[in-house]
């Protein structure tokens, strides 16, 4: 499925869309409501001291205090700090809101054709919102599917552009793994009966809207823990600052309350406090831009922690289809003969494997593709019983199929073989031939291929080697994952030999061959028992238990309702390779949080050096030696610190929304780099910033 328009197309320009900015400006003020503010302890405390100092300012104004201009500026910047924090959150939310808006447009009021009986075609037209879970509706070409449901009968092509942004229609049919339909999508051809599975208001699109809007946003466990830490640090700085008046009283001096408030607000971790929720929202948003819906923020965090990735071989590691790569005749048969028979058998075979045989025979031996009707051939399709397909051509029949099936058919078709033990000495397949065939098959399997035996008129000709084509660049991706510390496990129904060869070629760390859904579940459980976090993707109903068990279960949008319910993420593009990006987005979210927390705390060093000499210099002039930045006056020092503290929030909004870039270089180098940038940078940048602001405000005479 082409997803380029959603990946590359997620326009970076919209990071700061002017429409979003304008509505965020308004929201910055409405979010000052203390009932909203209390969700963020650090900023709530800032608001409390801002209100307090504002009240004191008006009192001073009334009785005519001194230094009012300075106090006014400090108070102004306190409010700016709050507004900037709110603005950051509003911008992050705004981007989601814009997406929700476009989703809402698709959720137009639909009419549903509610069937009165399960089988008949009589229906009443009712509004889509009145449908209950379990109702069965008829959806015909041109109709909008009224609500989420499961196809119980019929097959139809459906345009799911409303949710995926992908205009190419997809097939939805009853039974199998492509039975889920989403409300708001449109049936283009044919008709289906759909059993409704979602109650009104809780459909997939409703949930999507709620998610991207952030309305149902719950704080994630790590976010809660970080909030506790920030609140704790705030308490520590309350102690540190609240004791100062008493210390200075001992020394025989007094410090104006606005200066103390400025010291306090600059010391507490306002930078991360202001940006924390924006980081979380932006993380979810990045996933949405990637056409992945996380059902909870917890799932996104878990993605960053994933230790083991379970990947289905087909479609993820290899191209969906196997291709013929060689003809391997048994002795006494020429390659040409085998190729000819194989091509004939595949002429009417529309499967990709069949086509690849026709193409290979043509390319390698110049055997032109022939017309079935000219040959008077009849196609014998593949059935689960025979596990063979082929053509009947005149008198002889050509068959291709699994090695054991062909062998079985040759023995069975042979009247001699059916006769009894005495005549078994002359089978149509000699023991040597069978042994040779087995040897070739094993060799192919060992190389990661699948052998396909071919017979003509009861005579064994040889084997077509089908090979899984490992996706280009996938090996590098796995190497990258290994550097991230993530183990990849390939899941396949192939036999262990084939699986091992493909695993080696693709560079996965481990594989699970001949895997049943139970095996998958078992593997997840055993990994989790070792304390590992497991991510997987799946689409079928039989994947549902494993999806539910995995810490990160990505359900394909094309999958069944059961799978979609079981997973904690849904990939709208149904691209299993995306697991890798999902992990990266999770890591990026956590890294951004950590980096900005570190930055915020490291900032305190410079702020101390700006404000401590400024507030104590009046009492002990010697302490002005601590003014290592050489800030102009005590007032300008305090003002510069608080201005820096406010502006840094604005400056970091783009980083919070975009996220710190993740590099798959292993934890050590990654940590070194981030520590250098956000740790040491966090110590150094405020020294420079505060000095620059001080120069500016002294130049224009603010303090």
């Amino acid at each position: 499925m082409n997803t380029a328009h959603t990946h590359g197309g997620a326009p970076q320009a919209s990071l700061m869309d002017s429409k979003i900015i304008i509505s965020a400006l308004g929201a910055a003020f409405t979010k000052l409501d203390p009932r909203v503010m209390i969700r963020n302890p650090v900023m709530f405390v800032v608001e409390a001291v801002a209100v307090l100092t504002t009240v004191l300012f008006f009192k001073d104004l009334a009785i005519g205090g001194t230094g009012l201009g300075f106090s006014f500026q400090i108070i102004l910047w306190l409010w700016f700090t709050l507004l900037f924090a709110n603005f950051a959150e509003a911008v992050a939310e705004g981007r989601g809101k814009a997406q929700a808006m476009s989703l809402r447009k698709t959720r137009t009021e639909t009419q549903a054709k509610l069937l009165s009986g399960a089988s008949g075609r009589d229906y009443n037209v009712v509004p889509g919102t009145q449908l209950k879970v379990g109702d069965v509706v008829l959806v015909e070409a041109g109709d909008i599917i009224p609500s989420d449901g499961e196809v119980v009968e019929g097959v139809a092509s459906v345009n799911e552009a409303a949710i995926t942004g992908e205009s190419a229609p997809v097939i939805r049919e009853s039974g199998g793994d492509r039975s889920a339909v989403t409300g708001g999508t449109q049936v283009l051809s044919d008709w289906i009966r759909v059993r409704i599975t979602a109650a009104p208001g809780s459909t997939f699109i409703d949930r999507m809207i709620a998610l991207v809007e952030g309305a149902s946003r719950q704080k994630t466990p790590n976010e809660i823990a970080l909030n506790i830490l920030l609140a704790g640090l705030t308490l520590i700085f309350i102690i540190a600052v609240a004791t100062i008046p008493s210390f200075t009283a001992y020394a025989g001096g007094a410090i104006p309350i606005t200066a103390l408030v400025a010291l306090f607000v600059t010391l507490i971790p306002t930078t991360i406090g202001a940006l924390l929720s924006a980081i979380g929202i932006a993380g979810m948003d990045r996933l949405v831009r990637f056409n992945v819906l996380a059902m909870s923020g917890r799932a996104v965090e878990a993605a960053g922690d994933v230790d083991t990735l379970l990947l289905d071989k087909t479609g993820t590691i290899t191209l969906g289809n196997r291709q013929a790569t060689a003809f391997r005749p048994v002795s006494g048969v020429s390659e040409q003969e085998l190729a000819d028979a194989a091509q004939l058998a595949s002429l009417a075979d529309e499967t990709p494997e069949g086509r690849s045989i026709v193409v290979l025979a043509k390319e390698k031996y110049g055997i032109r593709s022939r017309d079935m009707t000219e040959l008077h051939a009849t196609f014998v399709p593949f059935t689960a019983q025979t596990r063979m397909s082929g053509v009947d051509l005149g008198g002889s029949s050509i068959r291709k199929g699994a090695v054991d099936s062909i062998l079985a058919s040759l023995s069975a078709a042979d009247p001699v073989a059916r006769g009894g033990a005495a005549q078994a000495l002359k089978p149509s397949v000699s023991l040597e031939q069978a042994r040779e065939l087995q040897a070739i098959s094993d060799e192919i399997a060992m190389a990661g291929g699948t052998p396909l035996a071919v017979s003509r008129g009861g005579r064994l000709l040889g084997v077509v080697q089908l090979k899984d084509i490992v996706k280009g660049g996938i090996r590098e991706r796995f190497a990258e994952l290994r550097r991230m510390g993530i183990r990849t496990v390939m899941i396949t129904g192939d036999n262990p030999m084939t699986a091992a060869a493909i695993a080696a070629e693709a560079g996965v760390d481990d594989f699970l061959a001949q895997a049943t859904p139970e095996d998958k579940l078992q593997l997840i459980r055993s990994e989790q028992a070792q304390g590992k976090l497991v991510a997987m993707c799946g689409d079928g109903t039989n994947d549902a238990p494993a999806l539910a068990q995995a810490d990160v279960g990505v359900a394909m949008n094309t999958g069944t309702v059961a799978a979609r319910e079981a997973g904690n993420m849904v990939d709208l593009d149904s691209d299993p390779t995306k697991l890798i990006e999902i992990v990266e987005i999770g890591k990026q979210l956590l890294m951004t949080r950590g980096s900005l927390t570190t930055f915020s705390i490291a900032n305190d060093v410079a702020k101390y050096f700006a404000i401590i000499p400024a507030i104590f210099a009046g009492i002990y002039p010697q302490l002005s030696i601590l003014n290592i930045m050489g800030l102009a006056t005590p007032e300008s020092a305090i003002l510069s610190a608080i201005i820096f503290n406010a502006l840094i929030i604005i400056a970091l909004i783009p980083l919070a929304l975009r996220g710190v870039k993740y590099r798959a270089v292993g934890a050590g180098p990654l940590l070194r780099r981030n520590l250098l940038v956000y740790g040491l940078g966090g110590i150094a940048i405020p020294f420079i910033g505060i000095k620059a602001i001080d120069l500016a405000i002294s130049a224009i005479g603010l303090a």
Binding site: R483, V605, Y620, A667, L675
Partner: protein, 571 residues
């Protein structure tokens, strides 16, 4: 600073580092209940003790049970010690006829010894009977140290166990710490001190006639035995008021070295016990490395300040380092080193008067204690205090590798952060909070010995020392008043139990967690990067809180000194 001074400092460091592995190995075996060379003698004693107290070494405790056992034991210790002091006049072994200790002083002293602080608002030789010294103070010296070790071991188990409900058995840990670690080492150390001339007697003080013919009473007593545990258990409560500056309590350079090494030995080796128990000794070395880094910088500044001396004194034509309040037999290097060692660990024994240190020299002990004495620290207390900072550090920075924070495979979650921050929070609360009250209250101000910033430092030092459970004093403050006895007592309780309880809660929480296997994506916690980060977080989170107070105390005093400004009484 001299080469000689640095050589002595390096010799000290080398001995401590050399002891880490053997002592760590021994203690690991002891606390895992594995046999050691002392088991044949001590195990029967151990078994009898368990049987008498109705427990078994195989009985495991949930962290809450462990905490209650610890609290109950400490409460009992407090009550006994308080009673002994109040009734010492009527109890035996009181040859000098000491009278009952006043209630507030008895409270302060009982809390002080129970919490391993050994803050002394009294002069030992003029206040306490031999019975109180031996059965009260020395017993607490052992068990308070053993309590600290037990808590540390419980926390280590929290990190080393997987999906476990229990963190060990407090009674077994206590007993083992005392029987297998403290007692044998003390026996050896006591004999070594006696060999250097430290008295060990139960007879009364000696009346002597000086050369001039004056009569002098020379205080003696069971000094060597108390000295051994005072240092080994990082208690610090001196037999004599002058503590390890007294010639009978610290006769020569060798005893001085031995004392410093014993202060650090167990605390440093516990990092190795940690490393061994979590299955990677490098983890222990990394923690010791972070401690060592802070320690080394502290020694550098303190020694530099003391060796440089006072410019105001130099102006009077007296050259050399600052020798005020120092013993000539130790000099500036060993006095500065001792001061840093005793405050890095929560010992509080002193061989020089910290109050007489240069302002910056005296600031180092203050900073060491303000950080919560996590540099080696009190036996056990240093390690669990440091691990609390590690939890915080890993939470802040662990995210930077793109995983939710974890340490040694244990995820750090909301309740762990809550507990760590609670423990770290209580220190500035007690230290700065009480100082802020004392420096504006007449009753607090009345005890201050020197005017100006130095007087401020005296008060700050008292509460910092109390809350950090150090017990060393900044000299000139008269602490034996109702106000200081009570408030420092409360500060000691806060600094001890408001750290221990959260630490044990974290132990319980960690033990219950699964251990996530390490991978290439895991934050490596055994390298220089981790050490640097840990030190950074300690200094910024733990240290910067005190910057305003330090600025108004030692820093301004130092700057004034350079400027030639002095502060006169009443000025």
């Amino acid at each position: 600073m001299t080469i000689n001074g640095w050589i002595q400092i390096l010799i000290f460091c080398a001995i401590v580092v050399a002891l880490v592995k053997p002592l760590g190995w021994y203690m690991m075996r002891v606390f895992n209940g594995e046999p050691t060379f002392l088991s044949p003698i001590l195990h029967p004693v151990e078994t009898i003790l368990y049987r008498l107290s109705g427990t078994s070494e195989r009985e495991e405790q949930h962290w809450l049970t462990y905490t209650f056992a610890m609290l109950a034991f400490n409460l009992l210790g407090f009550v006994v010690l308080y009673a002994l002091q109040r009734f010492q006049a009527v109890l035996p072994y009181n040859p000098m006829g000491m009278s009952a200790v006043a209630p507030d002083l008895a409270f302060n002293t009982a809390v002080s010894f129970m919490t391993n602080t050994n803050w002394q608002n009294y002069g030992g030789e003029s206040t306490m009977s031999y019975l109180v010294q031996m059965a009260g103070l020395t017993v607490q010296n052992f068990v308070s140290a053993a309590t600290g070790i037990a808590i540390a071991v419980a926390l280590i188990r929290g990190f080393s166990r997987t999906s476990a409900r229990s963190v060990g058995n407090f009674w077994a840990d206590m007993t083992r710490a005392t029987l297998y670690v403290l007692l044998p080492l003390c026996v050896v150390l006591t004999l070594l001190y006696v060999s250097r001339g430290v008295p060990q007697t139960l007879s009364a003080y000696i009346d002597a006639r000086t050369l001039e013919g004056a009569r002098q009473t020379i205080a003696v007593g069971p000094v060597a035995s108390q000295l051994a545990i005072k240092l080994l258990g990082t208690n610090g409560g001196g037999f004599f008021n002058a503590n390890s500056a007294h010639p009978f309590e610290n006769p020569d350079a060798f005893s001085n070295l031995l004392q410093m090494v014993s202060i650090f030995a167990i605390g440093a080796a516990l990092t190795n016990v940690f490393g061994r128990m979590v299955g990677d000794q490098r983890q222990g070395w990394a923690i010791l490395g972070a401690m060592g880094l802070i320690f080394f910088v502290g020694v550098l500044v303190a020694y530099w300040a003391e060796a440089a001396g006072n410019p105001l004194v130099h102006a009077l034509g007296v050259d050399g380092g600052n020798m005020e309040g120092k013993e000539v037999r130790f000099g500036t290097a060993m006095s500065a080193l001792f001061a840093v060692v005793t405050t890095a660990a929560s010992c509080g024994a002193v061989n020089a008067m910290h109050s007489s240190f240069m302002p910056l020299g005296g600031m180092i002990p203050l900073i060491n204690m303000e950080l919560g004495e996590i540099v080696i620290g009190g036996v056990g207390a240093g390690l669990y205090g440091m691990l609390l900072f590690v939890v915080l550090t890993m939470f802040v920075a662990g995210l930077m590798v793109g995983r939710t924070p974890e340490y040694l495979g244990k995820k750090i979650e909301a309740k762990d952060v809550k507990m760590a921050i609670l423990a770290i929070l209580c220190l500035p609360l007690a230290m700065l909070g009480f100082t802020a009250l004392a420096v504006v209250m007449p009753t607090g101000l009345a005890s201050i010995g020197n005017p100006g910033p130095h007087g401020f430092s005296e008060v700050l030092y008292a509460y910092v020392s109390g809350a950090a459970n150090n017990g060393s004093a900044f000299g000139s403050l008269s602490g034996n008043t109702l106000w200081y006895n009570l408030t420092i007592g409360v500060a000691m309780l806060m600094g001890r139990f408001l750290v221990i309880a959260p630490a044990l809660a974290i132990a319980g929480s960690m033990a219950a967690k699964k251990t996530v296997p390490t991978s290439a994506g895991t934050f490596p916690t055994h390298g220089g990067l981790f050490i640097g980060l840990l030190v950074g977080v300690i200094l910024i989170v733990g240290g910067l809180t005190f910057f305003p107070a330090l600025a108004l105390g030692p820093i301004v005093e130092h700057l004034s000194m350079i400027a030639g400004q002095t502060f006169s009484a009443g000025g």
